[in-house]
């Protein structure tokens, strides 16, 4: 499977794109992920792809790498129409991707990782180990990576793994290199090294698609930009012709056209207070308070530490410092069981793994934390369980064939309703919702929002972690923005705008 594609001569950046996508549309059940979008990549240039979470960036990367097939649209590579029915086709065409979490093999060596799928062979069809190592050494040398090709990948740090991924990109002589948030897990020094590498790839005439949420690096490294919003192409051009403000405006748009429930409620006394919450690696110095009947939004980029704070509050992880008070009383929360007893419940982002117990029927999912309530002396009372499950599933308008149906057979939105019903049945005081509408279809989304408003109106305190700006703006009374494990801002009233959220989350300097 040896493919050799010559990179075009390095040097002057021509105005002809090496790769262009036009009119790309991709629909998933219930969601239009991409709608008639265009993207062009130029040899020797870095194009930044910018957009909020859910704007369709990952979908376009998956189309480019042959993982998804577009429903409509054309891909043109070096002037010729192409299709990538499989990932191998994309690789053979010289397109390679370096992901946030690099897709590499921990138990194989550096050299094996670089050449996986296209290792040099002897004439007997066996892997030519000396050639493999020699070529790996040569490629690693080209990117100044001081790595032993024989070393197992497991022993490398995340930055070195990125270097291996880049070496892998070079080994197939890629014409197009996609970097999906490559600096998300790197330190400052490592980021600098990555920038130099990007410069070198540019100089070799490769086209680079650079996906990042960090504005400083986009302005430093990119030559062009393309902005997606809600699966649509909203603008592209040269970086020299745009400033930060304009880019933010393009990203978030002005139309918050989703309809959110009108909120008529009274915010009562403080019921939860967190002071000086800290974790050795995930977050530090987190202090906030939550009042009765309030919806407190937590906004931030993926990896800002929001879920980690919530999971510590719920007793899944142990904070190293900090105090939690509920109604003024200090509560030590060392396990989810203790959190539930203290009245704090958590609807996790990872519904399939942490939220629902797939394999158990709906009613058993709902009564799982309330068994002490439905049972007598430790013995189950099924009639009580069905009664409790019925009460809360009907309140949430669950769509299911029967209460003894496996929760795994339900749609994402209905599974979410089961998880929420499970917690409401425990009659909590604080409910934490982590990305409550992620992967939920539009109809169920509105139902979840309406229900959230209803809960707050009934005096429940709600914490909502969300990466969707419209949802944050439409639902929250107050918003805490987190960045890199710290609270970056607390916004409410007039200060709560899409621009302020993005600025604080991305750490764009100066503005308060």
């Amino acid at each position: 499977m040896q493919i050799s594609v010559r990179a075009p001569a390095a040097g002057a950046a021509t105005a002809v794109p090496i790769l262009s996508l036009d009119g790309i549309t991709k629909t998933f059940p219930g969601v239009k992920a991409l709608s008639d979008v265009a993207l062009a990549l130029y040899p020797g240039e870095v194009t930044a792809l910018v957009g909020e979470n859910g704007a369709g960036k990952s979908t376009i990367v998956k189309i480019l790498t042959g993982i998804y097939q577009p429903d409509a649209g054309a891909i043109t590579l070096a002037g010729k129409p192409v299709q990538f029915p499989t990932a191998q086709h994309a690789t053979d065409a010289g397109i390679t991707a370096i992901h946030q979490e690099t897709v590499l093999f921990d138990d194989l060596s550096v050299a094996e990782n670089i050449f996986i799928g296209h290792a040099p062979r002897t004439r007997w069809g066996l892997i030519d180990w000396p050639a493999l190592r020699a070529r790996a050494t040569e490629i690693l040398g080209r990117i100044d990576a001081d790595l032993d090709p024989r070393m197992p990948l497991r022993e490398l740090g995340i930055a070195s793994k990125h270097l291996v991924a880049i070496a892998r990109a070079l080994s197939v002589d890629a014409r197009v290199v996609i970097m999906d948030e490559p600096t998300a897990a790197l330190s400052h020094k490592e980021i600098e090294e990555l920038y130099q590498l990007v410069e070198r790839l540019k100089a070799e005439g490769r086209a680079i698609l650079f996906i990042s949420h960090k504005f400083d690096e986009i302005f430093r490294i990119a030559d062009r930009y393309t902005v997606f919003r809600d699966g649509q192409h909203v603008g592209s051009g040269r970086m020299s012709e745009i400033d930060e403000g304009e880019l933010v405006r393009l990203m978030v748009g002005r139309s918050v056209d989703q309809i959110f429930p009108a909120r008529a409620h009274q915010i009562g006394a403080e019921c939860l207070k967190v002071v000086g919450y800290a974790h050795p690696t995930e977050f530090d110095d987190i202090s906030f308070s939550l009042r009765k009947g309030e919806i407190l939004g937590f906004y931030g980029l993926v990896g800002a530490g929001r879920s980690e704070v919530m999971q510590a509050l719920f007793g899944v992880t142990r904070p190293s410092k900090g105090v939690v008070r509920i109604d003024g009383q200090i509560r030590a929360i060392r396990s989810p069981a203790e959190a539930i007893r203290a009245g704090i419940v958590y609807v996790p982002e990872d519904r399939g793994k942490q939220g629902a117990v797939i394999g158990l029927p709906i009613f058993q999912n709902i009564t799982l934390p309330s068994l002490s309530q439905t049972s007598r002396r430790g013995f189950l009372r099924l009639a009580e369980e069905f009664r409790l499950a019925r009460e809360y599933t009907e309140r949430l308008d669950l769509r299911a064939a029967a209460l003894d149906q496996d929760v795994g057979q339900l749609s994402g939105g209905n599974q979410q309703k089961v998880v929420i019903a499970k917690w409401l049945a425990t009659r909590p005081r604080v409910i934490i919702l982590d990305e409550p509408t992620k992967g939920v279809d539009i109809g169920s989304k509105a139902a979840v929002h309406a229900f959230m408003a209803e809960l707050a109106a009934q005096g429940l305190s709600v914490i909502m972690v969300s990466s969707e700006i419209p949802e944050i703006l439409g639902m929250s009374d107050r918003v805490i923005v987190m960045r890199e494990g710290l609270i970056a801002a607390e916004l409410e009233g007039a200060a709560l705008t899409p621009e302020s959220l993005v600025r604080h989350a991305a750490g764009i300097g100066g503005t308060a």
């Binding site: 069981a337 117990v357 158990l360 019925r390 009907e394 308008d397 029967a402």
Partner: protein, 328 residues
């Protein structure tokens, strides 16, 4: 929420009868009946109350362990050291008998040894987070190894006469003490697994340990208790077996762990955890007992018998899968 028409969701999709008919237990029961009928035709000695009573000893001790093992496997763990726990418990009882201790003390020692071994396994698995299959393969060698060091090629004999009751006594007519114990334990385990909060927690953990933890289940505590129970049941099996044999050798109950696991899996417990039932394990115990007894009456050698058990296991497990493929 517009509650103009709160739609009604029925409790159950299928009636109790329909669920029963489609269940694994019914299929297995049919297999048991078929083997029973085949045996009664194959050997004139089969349909004899005393012979049948003898046959129950083929499975009662293993089944006691299988009940606890079923709970453990449903929760997503396994204990392969059970046969070695029998060896260690039996050795401890033998040593105590040499010192002249009476039957009540011996029972306590057997039970305590089982509990201690279970606690050791449980602590390693839940405390250190080690995989149970690795831990218990290790303790399988460790526990039996201690027996070999203590006994070498010797054997303990000379148990007090009243100790014989546990493995050789009869409660009434042909009903042995072991069989009664088996029946009582089956009932207790059935109730615990299917009718208590603890049993529900076991199913939740087996289907999704993270989800169970996030629902407030004390996952590690439940698993530790299950290891304790498995150890205790191995101790009880050691009491019965030692009493029945009247002697202890380090090779006692050799290879039983696989027969116990076979019984559990044959009973319809998913080896991946999350599903299974005690009635299924009870029927599986009878199936295995009847097969070994029937083949024994026909003078089939032990090696061939294990081939039969192996084929039976694969056959019964593969049958529903093949059926599903045909009807798809």
């Amino acid at each position: 929420m517009t509650d103009t028409s709160a739609r009604h969701i029925p409790d159950r999709l299928h009636s109790a009868a329909a669920r029963l008919l489609k269940s694994w237990e019914v299929l297995l029961l049919a297999v048991a009946v078929a083997i029973f009928v085949a045996n009664s035709f194959a050997s004139p000695y089969f349909l004899n109350a005393w012979n049948l009573s003898d046959a129950t000893f083929n499975f009662t001790e293993k089944a006691m362990i299988a009940f606890a093992m079923a709970l453990l496997i449903i929760s997503g763990e396994i204990d392969l050291s059970v046969a070695s726990i029998i060896a260690l418990a039996s050795t401890a009882m033998g040593a105590a008998a040499q010192l002249g201790l009476g039957a009540p003390a011996l029972v306590l020692i057997g039970l305590a040894t089982g509990l201690a071994c279970g606690a050791f396994n449980g602590a390693l698995v839940t405390g250190l987070g080690l995989p149970s299959i690795v831990v218990t393969i290790g303790t399988m060698s460790l526990f039996r190894g201690i027996s070999y060091i203590v006994l070498g090629d010797q054997a303990y004999r000379g148990y007090p006469p009243e100790f014989a009751f546990f493995g050789q006594g009869y409660v009434a007519w042909v009903i042995s003490f072991e069989f009664v114990l088996f029946a009582v334990l089956a009932l207790v385990y059935g109730v615990v697994l299917h009718r208590t909060n603890f049993g529900r927690a076991i199913f939740a953990i087996g289907n999704n340990p993270t989800g169970a933890l996030f629902s407030g289940i004390q996952v590690r505590r439940v698993k530790f208790i299950l290891f304790l129970l498995t150890g205790a049941m191995s101790g009880i099996a050691a009491i019965c077996l030692t009493s029945r044999l009247g002697s202890t050798r380090p090779s006692i109950a050799f290879g039983w762990e696989l027969e116990v696991v076979t019984m559990v899996v044959l009973g319809g417990v998913s080896i991946l955890g999350g599903s299974g039932s005690i009635p299924g394990v009870v029927i599986a115990a009878f199936v295995m007992g009847l097969v070994t007894f029937g083949l024994g009456l026909l003078n089939v050698p032990g090696i061939v018998m294990s081939i039969f058990i192996g084929l039976l296991l694969i056959g019964v497990i593969a049958l529903p899968r093949l059926w599903a493929m045909r009807t798809r």
